[in-house]
């Protein structure tokens, strides 16, 4: 059972435009959701998180939206930059349980 799903394996966006990465989950017990970015040959790095009691969290060009009723969250990057090209992992966390990561979405920002 895949608790965290990222149904788009890849996404291409023009520089300057908005990138929207989607994530769906099945575990209603998740307390936090996190987004990680991974460049080739490097470990994932934390990008932004959101608590399950919120519906939006913003940090610079990055905004995460949470729709609990739909069990859906999305990461918006605006404006997109070539340096944003990476694999983005969505993860869910429930207190007392382990982090569950999605399969990732590869974002390519085209100059």
């Amino acid at each position: 059972d895949q608790q965290v799903k990222q149904n788009s394996p890849s996404l291409s966006v023009q520089e300057g435009r908005i990138s929207i990465l989607n994530c769906d989950y099945t575990n209603s017990m998740f307390d936090y959701f996190l987004w990680y970015k991974k460049y080739p040959a490097e470990g994932p790095t934390f990008l932004i998180s959101i608590s399950s009691i919120k519906d939006k969290n913003e940090d610079g060009r990055f905004t995460v939206f949470l729709n609990k009723s739909a069990k859906h969250l999305s990461l918006h990057i605006v404006p997109s930059q070539p340096g944003d090209s990476a694999v983005y992992f969505c993860a869910g966390f429930a207190v007392g349980q382990n982090f569950v990561f999605g399969p990732g979405t590869r974002l390519s920002v085209l100059p």
Binding site: E42, G43, F93, F101, P103
Partner: protein, 115 residues
């Protein structure tokens, strides 16, 4: 400051051999995690250490896999009698604590290839 380090960065081994992977977490981080990322797959949880508590081994795929951690320091992941399907990137992460969803800091990973 120093981040999470892992060694070796790459490991090629023959089927049936044992391998040992090492992780040095960030100093002061009580929580340590091992994950595996197979080609085209997401991060698969393997094992979790929290301080001196018994580790959560629920993600280990078989009894060929084991891990140790001494206190809040170095951890080693051992794979015995390696199989070709063990080929993957093995990632270690650490965090201050787990109970409040603390951000995990990942190492660069060890790329294991079993021939």
């Amino acid at each position: 400051g120093a981040g999470v380090s892992q060694s070796p960065s790459n490991k090629v081994t023959e089927k049936g051999k044992d391998v040992e992977l090492r992780c040095d977490p960030i100093s002061g981080h009580t929580a340590l995690y091992w994950y595996r990322q197979s080609l085209g797959q997401g991060l698969e949880f393997l094992i979790y250490f929290q301080g001196n508590s018994a580790p959560d081994k629920s993600g280990l795929p078989s009894d060929r896999f084991s891990a140790e951690r001494t206190g809040e320091s170095v951890s080693t992941l051992t794979i015995q009698r390696t199989q070709q399907e063990d080929s993957a990137v093995y990632l270690c992460a650490s965090s201050l604590m787990k109970s409040s969803g603390e951000t995990q800091y990942f190492g660069p990973g060890t790329r294991l290839l079993v021939l």
